[in-house]
Symmetry: C2
Subunit: 216 residues, 2 copies
DNA sequence: TGCGACATACCAACTAGTCGGTATGTCTTT
DNA sequence: AAAGACATACCGACTAGTTGGTATGTCGCA
């Protein structure tokens, strides 16, 4: 991991069409200001396109919110799918490797590492069913990607009383909670508070799976 | 706990002044719609007061947001301070008792059990330093109330590698994360998903403090 | 009679969304 | 290969309604 790259969004293809520029702008502005507080005009200004282009590609602001959640989901899941921890032979190592990667990706101000889907759903779960469903797909999609490794770890270690799916959901919940509490902090303290939460989750997993909690 | 009471807000004194009615309205509307999406006009309509009353008591919408966070903080901390788990002799029992109470308070749709401070800070951490600080005070105030019991439990059980303060922050983070993931779900699934998160946290604490994870 | 607690009327700025228009294609027909 | 028909991508002025906030007035009570 090079230090210069943007945390949590390492591989951004340059946005070329107005649609892509608007989605990139949406990710940035939703992370910093939230969904409701971001106006269509601000989105267009940030993307460097006009309002005509906006409503050519999206039928409404809500439709952009849905598309932004999908866009976010696709880019993050592609990134984690290609991460090297998948090659580890032990499922416990893969589970802990995922957490270590997430910890490594946390840095800078909250808008650099927080989650678009979580921010969207917090604001729009009641006002927009479409956004709620898109955020659900993003967050639960992340969880699903962990399920198989966690199930394998549970079987291997003889853990009872939970499932891989439940633990995977818990990982996502702790990540979302880490982002919320990080946002309560002044900028320079936010990242370390978020990392602390994932470190506790790592310790929980290490205890569940009979590992010492050594940091690698 | 009677079933009829409003989850997480058991003891609401009847709002009598315009200011109190506005704060009650703010809690309700911020939970359901978020801060930015809630207009001053909506707040006044919900509270049954006029705009003149609003700006008589609050200098701006932002000031209401700060006051709502303080109001929320005061009412919740008073509730938890008076909860019976404080009388348990064992600090581990007190820590687990807090979690059991939080689990018991989760029910109904997300707007019935979610946290005003968490919702506020997620939206306004960048746009309003005053709201960010008020939300920090609310959430970290909750954490501080747990710190002594967790420190005592750590000493009693010989836990190393963390502190009561860190564990207390983690409790708050998991609670906030539980609320976020609950909001991704359709209404009838939200509460059980949130409870699942606190159950994992309870198991973490039970393992840390050398307890079986028996539910009481 | 003065002052706190409201109510009413109002405003400038901003909101999401519309609409007529243009530039640049890419097929299809002859 | 030329031309007509149609589609896509984008532009920017415009509108109807909403926004947070203000200015001024009223009313009851110490």
């Amino acid at each position: 991991m090079s230090l210069g790259m943007i945390p949590n969004r390492p591989f951004r293809p340059p946005a070329v069409t107005a649609r892509d520029k608007l989605l990139e702008a949406a990710v940035k502005l939703i992370r910093t200001s939230g969904y409701a507080a971001t106006s269509v005009d601000q989105l267009c200004a940030e993307a460097g396109v006009t309002k005509g282009a906006f409503f050519h590609h999206f039928t409404s602001k809500e439709a952009l919110g849905v598309a932004a959640a999908d866009y976010w989901s696709a880019s993050t899941s592609a990134f984690f799918a290609s991460a090297p921890f998948h090659d580890l032979p032990d499922p416990v190592d893969r589970a802990l490797g995922y957490l270590d990667l997430r910890i490594a990706l946390i840095g800078g101000p909250p808008e650099a590492f927080s989650c678009v889907a979580g921010t969207l759903v917090q604001e729009a779960f009641r006002s927009s069913a479409a956004i709620r469903v898109a955020a659900e797909a993003s967050i639960m999609g992340n969880a699903n990607a962990l399920e198989a490794d966690l199930d394998a770890a549970i079987v291997q270690c003889g853990v009872s009383g939970t499932t891989g799916a439940s633990l995977a959901r818990h990982v996502q919940a702790v990540i979302q909670g880490a982002f919320v509490v990080a946002k309560t902090q002044p900028e320079e303290c936010a990242a370390s508070l978020a990392r602390e939460q994932l470190a506790h989750l790592r310790r929980y997993f290490a205890m569940l799976f009979g590992r010492e909690n050594q940091e690698e």
